[in-house]
Amino acid sequence: MAEPRSLQFDTLSLHAGQRPDPVTGARATPIYFTTSFVFRDADHAAALFNMERGGHVYSRISNPTNAVLEERVAALEGGVGAIATASGQAALHLAVATIAGAGSHIVASRALYGGSHNLLSYTLPRFGVETSFVDPRDLGAWKKAIRPNTRLLFGETLGNPGLDVLDIPSVSAIAHEARLPLLVDSTFTTPYLLKPFDHGADLVYHSATKFLGGHGVAIGGVLVDGGTFDWEASGKFPELTEPYAGFHGMDFQEESTVAAFLLRARREGLRDFGACMSPATAFQILQGIETLPLRMERHVANTRKVVEFLGAQAAVASIAYPELDSHPDHALAKKLLPRGCGAVLSFDLKAGRDGGRRFIEALRIFSHLANVGDAKSLVIHPASTTHFRMSDAALTQAGIGPGTIRLSVGLEDPDDLIEDLSRGLRAAKG
């Protein structure tokens, strides 16, 4: 039997979802700066509105530039489709809002990005959606936290900021046993390092602002459906398996065996909440994805050199990076992340909070800001920025100390990065 002739990852990064424009011959993806699209006639208009034909109506709901990005990320993840959103937070909200509502419950890893923690802890409860947070390494805790009204399990491929590796095979098995889907934030790993669908996840989202874009110029998110979860068999998701009065009585699961979630997310969530991506942003993120494999390889190589350097410094109390034997998820990382554990790491300075401040302020190449995944190296002090809303107790639970520094290692020459870090460590001593 002949081998499958499907394109490989690097090629898909450049070509999936786009080919030269048939009208103009444009090789690059055109930016379709238009709010709306002309109907051929009244019947065509009605057919588009009733989902009898595929096509674009209004750029809040879909846009040709965005569609290229959506197809491309879905192709790289091995999903059935995707929705581009205004930000990673918008993608998380869209995922939750599509299948959960007042009275619903979520079980989430407690090692989350601060913004996600805020949404689940403070904002969603105002709308009747409660979340139980669990230690992502405690599989028993995931299972125990599930209630009859639980609708979703959620974690990050690499937790923030301790780089906890989510045991996707085990957590997804727990979710599926309870007839629930697993949603994974795959921002830190990108599909180049880890494809969550291959390990049992059902829904994946990215803050495309980070490694997918890679350039730090655009805020965006992408929500991908693996098409694996059987909403009908679950019996817990009438949003997808019963007629929806808000869209012509459509039963989304009946319409599409594999894309019911995406149909409702687009036809309800994007339409009504409106957190869509600008086509200009979609173009910018596409430019980043074209070099994703090359960048991620270099990100990982540079990170390994930085980790090796930090590990030899007396001023460093500990380093959290799953490739180290000392990391509690080292064995799991070797299994799930054979290409590398990404470019984000954290470490603790012996000099504590004041030493951490001196360290950051002495750096010249690493930029002190609240982001990761830029081509440029970044640094932050989580307790005073991304996680500042969390209580001390919650911070400790999430593995964050007063002297914890998080690095996002960029694409600069690694010797320059090490020299910069040396400067910071000298300053930290006071």
């Binding site: 081998e3 002739r5 070509h15 999936a16 595929g54 879909s62 489709g81």
Partner: protein, 264 residues
């Protein structure tokens, strides 16, 4: 909707509208290892434009009960029984790939039940290489990857089925992966074993459309044209830039061709 065919429940998608047997009926028949959802756009459009639509899940597929049927003839007879259960006298049959052979066989042997037939991505003989047939039995996951790769011509769609943002190859693969174990081999064996295509084609007396894909690597368009040549007065239309998954890659073009054919 669900109807009972023999002792089993049979599911048919009705295009988002209640089924009204008084309207002209169209039955959509999916290909091997698939279900009704490959026809979302075409069936939904026609259901909202004056037709009674039944996009079936063949036995053992999707939501229908029972085991997959072992031959094309058995599927054609099952289709007639389904028409009986749905109280449909005669219908237009629209079949893709394996489903196209079912439509052909049904039109030939039950002419009173078929008023026109559209065969999409069809060919005769629909032989399966011994290697692939063996793989469908013993290495199903591997076989599905090969079949999916051969079923698509493009890596970009404008837009594909069911709409913008859909990764057509991924959706098609996942749909096949979600069918029950054993269905793939049963379907491919049924296609491989169907020997009477040309005789049946010669018996077809209703209007027939052959809608073929110019870049079909699963079954070359020339074999579809050969089959069309055996059906008197048939019409052949080829979507040059499509692979075997025509409804996925060219949903609008498929719908337009069907509308033109059904209204002729």
């Amino acid at each position: 909707m669900e109807v009972r065919v023999g002792s089993e429940v049979a599911y048919a998608y009705t295009g988002g509208k209640s089924f009204d047997a008084k309207l002209p009926a169209i039955v959509f028949i999916h290909g091997g290892e698939q279900d009704h959802s490959v026809w979302i756009l075409q069936s939904r459009y026609l259901a909202h434009h004056g037709y009674a639509v039944l996009a079936v899940d063949l036995p053992g597929h999707g939501r229908s009960g029972g085991a997959p049927l072992a031959s094309i003839e058995a599927m054609a007879d099952w289709l007639v029984a389904l028409l009986d259960s749905a109280k449909v006298g005669a219908a237009a049959l629209v079949g893709h790939s394996m489903g196209s052979l079912v439509a052909l066989d049904c039109a030939a042997r039950h002419p009173e039940r078929v008023d026109r037939v559209a065969l999409i991505g069809t060919a005769f003989p629909m032989r399966v290489s011994p290697d692939l047939l063996e793989a469908t039995k013993n290495r199903e996951a591997e076989a599905l990857l090969v079949i999916n790769a051969w079923s698509h011509a493009a890596y970009a769609h404008y837009p594909g089925n069911p709409g913008p943002g859909s990764w057509v190859r991924g959706g098609a693969l996942r749909l096949t992966q979600r069918q029950k174990p054993g269905v793939l081999h049963a379907d491919f064996a049924a296609c491989d074993g169907y020997a009477t295509g040309l005789e049946r084609a010669a018996q077809v007396s209703c209007p027939a459309l052959f809608l073929l894909a110019g870049r079909d690597a699963m079954m070359a368009a020339r074999y579809g044209r050969d089959l069309a040549g055996a059906v008197q007065g048939s019409t052949v239309k080829t979507l040059e830039d499509s692979g075997h998954n025509l409804m996925g890659e060219k949903p609008d073009e498929v719908l337009d061709a069907l509308v033109e054919f059904l209204r002729a």
